[in-house]
């Protein structure tokens, strides 16, 4: 494992940690992406603008990354359309049922030592490992 394989993800993680800290200090909110998106769709008076602004920030960041460093969007998985759409649907449904995803539970909740978030993170990691193992077994190892 090269030093770059440690330093670059660590830098990315530190930026994510800074971002969620700014959200908490200034707005008093957890940066849980599933909750922010779901709340934006509900369009509650006075609780929509910041959500839309956050999502716009994510998209703007994506556009800037694509302009400067398009390699970060490399996708070599070659997954079929059916698998992608199934994954997207389950991710959307599951994160709202489970009140959070990698950002809300995995980063914000664990940092606060929330027992719910610890359990959620262990659960989604475990089932992620199972899903990859099952797909690997069914496709004969090619992922």
């Amino acid at each position: 494992m090269s030093i770059e394989q440690i330093i670059t993800p660590l830098m990315g993680g530190i930026l994510i940690g800074l971002a969620v800290t700014i959200m908490l200090v200034a707005n008093g909110r957890v940066t849980g992406i599933s909750g922010i998106i779901n709340g934006a769709m509900k369009r509650v008076e006075g609780d929509t603008l910041w959500r839309v602004a956050f999502i716009s920030g994510l998209i703007s960041g994506g556009l800037v990354l694509f302009a400067l460093k398009p390699g970060v969007f490399e996708n070599t998985t070659g997954l079929g359309f059916g698998q992608i759409v199934t994954a997207g649907f389950i991710v959307g449904f599951g994160t709202i049922l489970g009140s959070g995803c990698t950002s809300g539970h995995g980063v914000c909740g664990i940092s606060r030592l929330s027992p719910r978030s610890l359990v959620a993170t262990i659960t989604f990691m475990f089932f992620g490992v199972v899903a990859v193992a099952v797909v690997r077994a069914l496709t004969g190892g090619a992922i």
Binding site: I6, P9, G12, G13, I14, L15, I16, G17, A19, V20, T21, I22, M23, L24, A26, G28, R29, V30, I33, S34, I37, N38, K42, V52, A53, S56, G57, S60, G61, G62, V64, L65, V72, F73, N75, T76, L79, T86, A87, G88, F89, I90, V91, G94, I96, L97, G98, S99, H105, R116, V119, A120, T123, F126, F127, G128, V129, V130, V132, A133
Partner: protein, 147 residues
């Protein structure tokens, strides 16, 4: 009428989204093969561990200072979840999310950020994800779980 504070909160949220996106890109979270590699016990790519380590170290240290403050800078009260109850709903939802995460190699934030790359498969994933949320909200009352 939007209050000045609500505009300021939106400006902060935009900045947070932007920095978060750059962080996800650097972290490798926008490359589905990296996420799948991280979840693959047969051929493990541990690099994404360092994303969580970096984010959690920064945020947990900051949280020690933040938690004793009376209120956030731009709002009258905190909006941090307080529930401690481990419910079947939490487990079921997290399990489903994990399965989807492993199947597609994408979670919500990286998917939204990757829209900027214009790939069709990302648009398909995001639309399906929004549909999943919409369906959940429609059927929530019929589900045998409480929050």
């Amino acid at each position: 009428m939007k209050s000045e504070k609500s505009r300021a909160r939106a400006a902060v949220a935009y900045l947070v989204g932007f920095v978060f996106a750059i962080g996800l890109g650097l972290a490798g979270m926008t490359q589905p093969q990296k996420v799948i590699g991280f979840l693959d016990v047969m051929n493990w790519d541990p690099s994404l561990i360092f994303v969580m380590v970096g984010a959690i170290i920064v945020h947990s240290l900051a949280y020690v200072f933040i938690k004793n403050k009376k209120s956030p800078l731009l709002d009258a009260a905190w909006h941090v979840p307080k529930s401690k109850e481990i419910t079947p709903r939490l487990i079921m939802g997290s399990a489903l999310f994990g399965i989807g995460w492993g199947l597609g190699g994408l979670c919500l934030g990286p998917a939204i950020v990757s829209l900027g790359s214009g790939q069709q498969s990302i648009f398909a994933f995001v639309l399906a994800m929004l549909l999943g949320m919409w369906v959940f909200n429609k059927v929530e009352k019929a589900l045998p779980f409480k929050k």
